[in-house]
Assembly symmetry: C2
Homo-oligomer: 208 residues x 2
């Protein structure tokens, strides 16, 4: 795998684009709190406390608690989509590209599982217009995966009868990693990614 693939999506500096410093610290604190307790169970006092600030300081940088969730969701989804696309658009046949996409996407959901948990499981807490924006990003992930599967079927490399259904299953499998992955568990994000890439290639009946 290439170096570009490894660092795509800013896995090293997840929130480097957020400024100023206090706003970034609040956002990082919110990600931790939301991932641990969930959006509704997290208080603004808890977020501010984790960032080493008073409760009122939060409202200098963000209008509401929901805006914090919205910013986290949008940036997180964009990172995940970037990771997926970078791997999906590399050179090679459908099997190589699907395997690479799943490996990268899963590695991101495992390695950044706190962000991923918020991004994937707290969507309902957003208002209608914010949620619509995020759903649009999600559809692009779906289209990217479905595109490779369709290509593989057309090229005779995959044997899939229900392409939309298999696409949903593949994405569901990858996303749910964020729910069960534990940092102190028996597997590294890399190992889970490799396992899942193999499983998905079996699901689409890839010839090897």
């Amino acid at each position: 795998m290439s170096t570009a693939e490894e660092t795509a999506g800013g896995e090293r500096e997840p929130w480097g684009e957020v400024a100023p410093d206090a706003a970034r610290r609040l956002l990082v604190a919110a990600v931790e709190a939301f991932a641990e307790r969930g959006y509704h169970a997290t208080t603004t006092r808890d977020i501010a406390g984790r960032a080493g600030m008073s409760p009122a300081a939060l409202y200098i940088h963000y209008k509401t608690k929901e805006e914090l969730l919205h910013r986290i969701s949008r940036i997180g989804h964009e990172k995940a989509l970037e990771v997926l696309r970078t791997a999906a658009e590399r050179e090679g046949g459908p099997a190589e590209r699907l395997g690479s996409a799943v490996r990268s996407f899963v590695r991101w959901h495992a390695g950044q599982h706190t962000v991923a948990r918020v991004v994937q499981y707290e969507l309902d807490a957003l208002g209608p217009e914010s949620r619509a924006e995020i759903v649009a990003l999600r559809r692009q992930s779906d289209a990217a995966v479905r595109g490779i599967i369709e290509e593989g079927v057309a090229a005779g490399e995959f044997t899939v009868t229900d392409v939309p259904g298999t696409t949903v299953a593949v994405l569901s499998l990858c996303i749910d990693v964020a729910r069960w992955f534990k940092v102190n568990g028996p597997r590294t994000p890399d190992e889970v990614g490799a396992l899942y890439a193999d499983l998905v290639l079996r699901m689409v009946g890839a010839k090897h």
Copy 2:
């Protein structure tokens, strides 16, 4: 498939064992509310209102709001485990039994997706002792699936290198159905179950 397999887990009368009538109505209302908005975003006034009662009536039948979630989680997990085991213990080879187990388990998570959503995604809202009880039930589901896969590998019918990892992936795939399944979507619970059974048999490299 057998009639026993179709009705296992009380898919027709999900809360028939809960008495008296008012307690069951409150529990059904809580399932709906928790599934729609999440545990922490649901108020006791909302639950009582859906059941057509005053807020205070809730505390005649349940000590706290958390006890309601605990009861829902325990009963729901027991139903899901019963569905899984009934299908897993039927006659036939590993491939037939794994396919049957996945089909039934997925059909339950799709058909009872409101219950399943609460049961699978609101676990963190439970206290330590309640959560431990539920986690124990979940381990039994894991053991049931892993058992079949190990059997299939031993019999030379499956080709799986990482049995625990594949088991986690299979269960994750099935459980996450509760998150994305929509009643008015393009597929019935039966259809999703059939699709997923096929996908899982491919994942384990079942010979056919």
